[in-house]
Symmetry: D2
Subunit: 384 residues, 4 copies
């Protein structure tokens, strides 16, 4: 069959939500992006629970499994380590993988706080490999289109950015104290989990953030323990935050994230207002971008365009289906990991489309600034 | 014809945007609310420019006009003074009218700042008449329905309020320096003009505000003078503000207003998230209320309800048209002034549905707190 | 006061739903359209029930009332007869008014069937006055904008028209047998009541209709009598119809109307697809027009434009409020009767923007063709 | 590793649009539906062009390829033949596969006309295997939810069904004469391609169709030949059709499909109105179902529910992602082929959720009836 396609071995850390999404994406790359920069080979997957990680191996198609993550970061067949573990396990395995000469993609937020993230960023600078922080929403076709429009000056000078990432999955006071609600494991609550996405998008689309103010709340202070629901433990992260934000380019805006926004399931909704146009996006309708164009030649029909981002000319769409055949949330990972693979194999820069460890680090700096602003009741200048 | 309907004489201050909207509303009251509490009689209208105020008299149907507002507040035929003048002319005519024993409805914001507003509020307390601050959006059927749902506990404990009132009418740098852009006449920019509406709705729907943080911007510093476009003058109000807000009941939220939000024309959009449900409203679709009900018995269809607020059972609708025949922005004034007329004639309380001068005053206190917070880079506690 | 404005006396037939809407519109014309072509003077109103018509006189502001419509059509102070009576009372008073030299505006459908309508049309041709059939939706700003776009070639060759006018107010089997459900009084059911609107819009926007096929249903055969709910009477009109339609210009489409479309309150929704663009409208959001423009220069943002038809440049809006301050259903009548007044006073043609009696007649011909097609199970060619 | 999972060999006919979608689905089944009824093994893929089918083999992961479809239907390793070929190649390979004892899933429409389809249906009845006609939209979670609601009586008696499936991909007159525009290869145009989907959904959701009327148009009669664009060939299928439809249960409706509906990309939009509620769906937003519930206990908030069909309780969603993480068009195939696999392995009935060959045949009967009705200008009774 002639064609000799290069292969890249994948070592996966974690098999749950993100581990499944990333594994699926690695498998789908050659089906959609053909020929692929390299054929991803699923080598080994790590998880704490042997039964479950063995099942994950079979299900996702890995060659082997392990219950010790060090077996992944050192595996000679592994070229790329994909870190999908909880936040408190981002730093150590990532740095060891870098030291072992592996390319590393690490889930967001890069770390529990800026201090940890800086260590990872420094390690990445030293290593001669590619690294990426998996802010997958940069790879939503509609958001990539937004980026393109802004970069081409379609919006002109930008005045406003407002974003809210809202969910409602812990509104029931009896929802248990899972790891995401514990500060020692997660670092923060919706700020790191959801807010980091919109902070990254703010930086991706508008530019660097200069200062923030904010407030935070934990609405339900105690919750049943997962291992023993008759006992309760303390919630040690915020349930929601609100912030104002000032950008270096003069724009101002608001940021918000909550797990107590009844009716909002995965509502990552942002809007950018510029002098010539505006853009609005909602993740629950991820195939659509709403665009306002002030300079439309037919003034009678000036209005918000509901752009169905499924045309061949739109980012990434060429590899999928004909116009109007929408893609799903999981395709953001296919696009993202394809990009990373392409950067590795063809020695391209992960930036500006992919988030680097620098981006990951800066995002944690902004998160920490919001926490400080909320605590001290003061405007905090962001310094990286 | 037997029925002897009481009459109430109306004295109007101002003939422009608000003067037209209020005059129209007074005329329409008996047509829709029949029998009316009293027949409004349009007695006299005041304006600075004789030609234009004479035309307004003919057009709106007043008996006479004047170019001295004192002729209105003292007119013996006038029972109700309706103050639709620019913000710097709210205090003096309103207080004189109160002293002359007239009922007074005054446009929002009640004054240019809390100091002025407090004087008006004090004067109102002393006077033995009815007063109302014309926050007309309390009289949008959909918003009144929101109020009803919240009061009945439909949302349960409230966690979030987020509101933005966005327009884009001064985005062109050559738009002239009209009175609304001058601090001496308007007091503030979109904060007082638009922000006051959403602050009032925050208080109406969620409760008292405890603290704020914020930032403000003037994007275009100088603009052509209306009287001589070859010269420029300084813009002395903000073009936009952003704020975080903490409520006494524990809820947190964001507030924003801008005249630089391209594509947003009259986008007063707010959302309330409670433990049992949520509510969303957008003034550009004022006949609709979006409602999420977590406790819907048919769980399969849990989702945002797009309620077309045009049923007989909905607030105010009974007097208008059959279901699905939508009403317009101007109907908010008909509902509002009907309410005021009803309160006067039947000696009812303007509160809680109508905004009192106390509400008007408290709103200016919050506005001033946001200004201070933005200036000082600090969280400001709101004290009335 | 110097300006001598001409006056036109209005004689109103009917005080219910349409009588109220038209009376309100006549009153509002000078307030919005200033200076008006003439000042409308509300002279006399007719109704069957003396108590109610006397109240209507007071409420709407007429000088006198009568319980004999002949007193209206012959009243020397009356210049314009406005026929808002039920369908079976369209022909006779209209023809008598024409013979008395009055201008006549008659509610739609022009008559119960084409035969009646033709007599009215013939009478109008003979009379030296202005006549209009009150298809008020031609005066929705968004629909007038659609007309303008189509006339200017914005859509190019038209391929499709699909319209449905859906309501649900008689879905309860105990809803009484009102006049609209009786063939002798109404002529037909939703076909004449709602279908006539979309047939008129089809002709207004796309052109003449060549042939139809169709089907009709009466879902609930008997209903309680209004005068004695313990007894039932036969429903003698259809509850719904569906039709296909072929236009002379080659376009094809579908038409539908129903009073059994649960959840649709006043859902007059149509779409036009042309080679260069498309248009969609929904009466429940009457301030919006959705427009697709294939030839938009910025191809990336090709999509449906949600045009908020509230800019000064949009039809009729200049006389109302600033951008984003939406108008209501009743404004269609203000626009429509202003147009008629302007045509009378300034001797302009009612066509093409207003519907003439010829339009009213042709609409009934199409209705009759649909009835015949449904009955005979055959395609019927439309011949006027 | 202990678990011995049964395997099923897949033989694929076609590698283009549908071949890709089905191949992807077979691969994804075990990743999402775990444990799967059997592990699908991709054995062999057929295509006319050797280069392309070889590439498809590599890309999709088949063991071998062939340029003779008989090698697929007779391959001893193949358990399931998946026929994704153009319409004129549905009958012969399907029947031969059935005769070879293979389970067969065949793309829709089952055949070019009812005569062909009947032969296939008869062959299926004789064979002792499972068969399915791949009407994949039955496997959209929102549509399956609609089915559930209707089956449970949520809508009560059904009055109306209206559906339109609109695209615009051939609106350019220079678009070439591809196989879908040739009657000998495709059988019909949008009627078979798109109309068959909505006819199947009509039957799935509402019930059997009793009679139809209709009209058809070919707007562009000649188009460039793909192989030599300087020459033109005749378009021998319709470009659009419109139809009325009467159901056996008394409901009436309209059906439409077009490739000339500018701005509609993959707009499969239908609405069902029942006495207790209504349902609306649009494929371009396939994660949403709009539901109206007349009997909602909180009458104030009666309105259309925008149900985001991404909760664990919704059909198929459990195997995918958390709430609000939407799925794409391709997931309909994963759900569908999982269903087929489950039916084969566990000997379950393909009906009622999957479309059988009987359903496929009946659908072609309705298509043929619409063609006849349009040609003869008559209502045609549907007889199977």
């Amino acid at each position: 069959m002639g064609v000799k396609v290069r292969e890249m071995g994948i070592g996966m850390l974690g098999y749950a939500f993100m581990g499944k999404a990333h594994s699926h994406a690695w498998r789908d790359i050659p089906l959609f992006f053909w020929p692929p920069p390299a054929m991803p080979r699923l080598i080994v997957i790590y998880g704490r629970h042997e039964d479950r990680v063995r099942e994950a191996m079979l299900r996702y198609g890995y060659k082997r499994y392990t219950t010790d993550w060090r077996n992944v970061v050192k595996d000679p067949e592994v070229d790329i380590v994909d870190n999908c573990l909880p936040n408190h396990l981002h730093k150590e395995p990532t740095i060891e993988a870098l030291e072992a000469g592996k390319h590393v993609v690490c889930e967001k937020p890069l770390a529990r706080n800026a201090e940890e993230a800086r260590e990872m960023y420094e390690a990445a600078k030293k290593a001669d490999v590619k690294t990426m922080c998996a802010f997958n929403y940069r790879f939503v076709p509609a958001i990539r289109l937004a980026k393109k429009l802004i970069d081409e000056g379609f919006l002109g000078r930008i005045y406003h950015f407002r974003a809210r990432y809202l969910q409602d999955w812990i509104i029931d006071p009896n929802f248990p104290l899972v790891w995401r609600l514990r500060g020692d494991l997660a670092g923060s609550g919706p700020l790191g989990d959801l807010g980091s996405h919109i902070i990254d998008l703010a930086r991706f689309l508008v530019g660097e953030i200069k200062a923030v103010t904010g407030a935070m709340r934990t609405f339900i202070g105690e919750r049943p323990l997962p291992e023993d629901p008759s006992k309760k433990g303390k919630v040690t992260v915020e349930d929601a935050f609100v912030a104002t934000v000032e950008f270096e380019n003069g724009a101002i805006g608001t940021l918000e994230a909550s797990r107590f926004a009844t009716g909002r399931k995965n509502y990552n909704n942002f809007e950018v207002n510029g002098e010539k146009g505006s853009i609005e996006f909602n993740l629950e309708r991820l195939n659509e971008l709403r665009v306002y164009w002030r300079e439309v030649p037919a003034k009678d029909i000036e209005g918000w365009h509901e752009v169905l981002v499924t045309e061949v000319r739109h980012p990434f769409i060429e590899v999928y289906w004909p116009p109007g055949h929408i893609i799903g949330w999981e395709h953001t990972f296919i696009n993202e990991l394809y990009h990373f693979l392409d950067c590795i194999v063809n020695d391209k820069d992960v930036a500006p489309y992919g988030a680097t460890f620098e981006d990951g680090y800066k995002c944690t700096v902004v998160c920490d600034a919001i926490i400080k602003a909320a605590k001290d009741g003061k405007r905090v200048e962001v310094t990286y």
